[in-house]
């Protein structure tokens, strides 16, 4: 994985929970179908406006609630490769990492505006806002987690560790 990730920010607020990210009424659908309903309770146009490589930016407590991996899976399916939040709910954070999604905590996440172009420097623990010319400090991934993300998530990691069949 590259050590910088650049993309357009899609900005949301605090407490974006799993019932908002993947509404339970659509969880029985395939990930591709369920993804069409992602975030619709707060943004009916979400699924159509996400482009591949967009970075989701949110406030406090992103992903609270359920353990449902359909939440990060649908976001990943729509093209989100990284999520920046003030902080994450625990299970969502682990799920994102296990899927190879970069989840970064940034105390200044609220200073990023919708549609700003930002660049996350994973090694330095900095986010550069190319639109507003600001730089924010952000969390660095601990080594054992960086190893997982570099491998592409838990599945490739397990394949590497256990070998095929």
């Amino acid at each position: 994985m590259e050590h910088t990730i650049k993309g357009r920010a899609l900005k949301y607020g605090d407490n974006i929970n799993t019932d908002i990210i993947s509404p339970p009424q659509y969880m029985e659908l395939s990930i591709a179908e369920a993804a069409k309903h992602a975030m619709k309770a707060i943004d009916p146009n979400f699924s159509s406006k996400v482009c591949i490589g967009d970075i989701l930016v949110a406030g406090a407590n992103f992903g609270s609630g359920s353990s449902r991996e359909t939440s990060p899976l649908t976001l990943q399916h729509l093209g989100i490769t990284a999520i920046v939040a003030r902080f994450f709910a625990r299970i969502f954070y682990r799920n994102a990492i296990n899927l190879g999604i970069v989840a970064i905590e940034c105390p200044d996440a609220d200073r990023i505006q919708d549609l700003d172009v930002i660049e996350i420097d994973l090694a330095k623990g900095e986010i550069h806002n190319l639109t507003s010319k600001q730089t924010y400090r952000c969390s660095k991934l601990p080594p054992h987690i960086m190893e997982l993300v570099n491998t592409g998530g838990l599945v490739p990691y397990l394949k590497e560790q256990l070998g095929n069949k």
Partner: protein, 420 residues
């Protein structure tokens, strides 16, 4: 220096003599629970075929179809079928379906033992902490790793000590105690942490009520809500399973906590969590008159025998308000049968309740009780997030089973003490 329950349980599971908050440990899993909605069908079955199509220990795997039972449509039916076939294919003997929410089935059947580590593909797995077990929710990909290796990594959490003194008054339930704790700690105040509940109010509670508290630890972001296993836990096992081992972890009196909170149970009034956050808590008597369309008693939080019996004390000889529906889903088939035998279900039905099968479906808006635009529900469940039980334009209020019962009589959110 003393140790918390989490430090003791996780050290044992990692094969170490001791551990401290902040340590990252690889722990051996004692029980791995998969449900229908996030079990084999998400990532797990497909990726196991690619890596190694065998679980590490079939006796430690429990598969429970509960969210989509009974199915409301073909897609749900296919998921229940897929889950059953996966369990058969992997020779999983601990397989349950249609008998109720997984967390209740886990404790009733002896899959959550004191001092053990249990992971499940549902966030309310934290409920089992009432038995002195370290039980926590994980995602599907992480479960894949557990099924293949029998291990996962956990960061030993800091612990918030929550001491409840005094005793609950008449008309007040563990749910009110739980909501009060959440109001004070906040919906993210225990993120990445464990909570240990203790004090005379907790000790006095029956197991059914203790489970309603630890069940909601995740609503503060916690990894687990723990209580020390005592004689009541041992008695529960004697009645429900063949648990015989003594493995009761006690936190040390001089354990180090990151935060200590003290509450007085005797000062509690009936509480309600208003839309759309679980910590948006107010006393029932303090909120403006709130009309409801649906009342729901059920789920892994509020559908146990004690809950149904408490609701029956309010509803006996009464009629629910015209134009609203009261849905009741006992938390398991065992609860259903006991409540039937004791006449509780008849009391509720005679008051106008619709008695459903044991299921997660209503709480999670999958089937059996979905809300329409503009409707409000008072619910004995654990989460009131926007759109959870149906339309994004509906509202969910969380209260105790007694508060739900009282509200179903008047048609608006009502203090159950008015009916005692």
């Amino acid at each position: 220096m003393g140790k918390t329950m989490s430090e003791k349980i996780l050290a044992r599971a990692a094969g170490q003599t001791e551990a401290s908050a902040g340590d990252i440990l690889w722990v051996n899993i004692d029980a791995a629970m998969l449900d229908d909605v996030l079990g084999p069908r998400v990532v797990i079955a497909e990726k196991m075929q690619e890596i190694r199509n065998q679980v590490w220990d079939k006796n430690k795997v429990v598969v429970i179809s509960d969210h989509y039972t009974p199915p409301a449509n073909i897609a749900q039916a296919e998921i229940v079928k897929f889950t059953r076939e996966w369990a058969v294919q992997h020779n999983i003997q601990n397989f349950y379906e249609y008998v109720g929410p997984c967390h209740q089935i886990m404790v009733e059947n002896g899959h959550v033992l004191p001092g053990t580590i249990v992971v499940g593909t549902d966030s309310h797995t934290c409920m089992g902490g009432a038995f002195g077990a370290f039980t926590t929710g994980i995602g599907s990909t992480e479960m894949l790793g557990v099924l293949l290796t029998g291990k996962t990594w956990l960061r030993v959490p800091e612990t918030i000590k929550v001491l409840w003194k005094g005793n609950l008054g008449s008309g007040i339930m563990a749910k009110d105690l739980s909501l009060k704790t959440i109001q004070v700690i906040g919906h993210a105040g225990a993120t990445y942490k464990a909570i240990e509940y203790m004090g005379e109010a907790i000790e006095a509670l029956p197991i059914d009520e203790r489970l309603a508290i630890t069940n909601m630890a995740v609503e503060m972001g916690a990894k687990v809500g723990l209580m020390q296993a005592d004689q009541k836990v041992l008695d529960y096992f004697a009645a429900h399973s063949d648990f015989g081992k003594e493995m009761l972890p006690f936190g040390d009196a001089d354990a180090v906590y990151c935060e200590e909170l003290e509450f007085d149970a005797s000062a509690l009034a009936p509480l309600v969590a208003c839309p759309h956050q679980v910590d948006n808590v107010a006393e029932v008597s303090q909120i403006p008159q709130t009309k409801i369309h649906q009342a729901y008693i059920g789920s892994c939080t509020g559908g146990r025998y004690y809950d149904l019996a408490a609701a029956a004390t309010i509803l006996k000889g009464k009629r629910i308000h015209s134009g609203i529906r009261l849905l009741v889903s006992p938390a398991s088939q065992e609860v259903w049968m006991k409540a039937a035998k004791e006449g509780i279900l008849s009391i509720l039905a005679e008051a106008g309740a619709i008695i459903l099968s044991p299921t997660c479906g209503v709480c999670v808006g999958a089937h059996s009780g979905i809300l329409a635009d503009g409707e409000a529900c008072i619910s004995a469940t654990n989460r009131n997030f926007l759109g959870r039980m149906g339309s994004p334009k509906s509202s969910i209020y969380l209260g105790s089973p007694m508060t739900v019962a009282a509200s179903s009589i008047t048609g608006y959110i009502t203090d159950p003490r008015d009916f005692l």
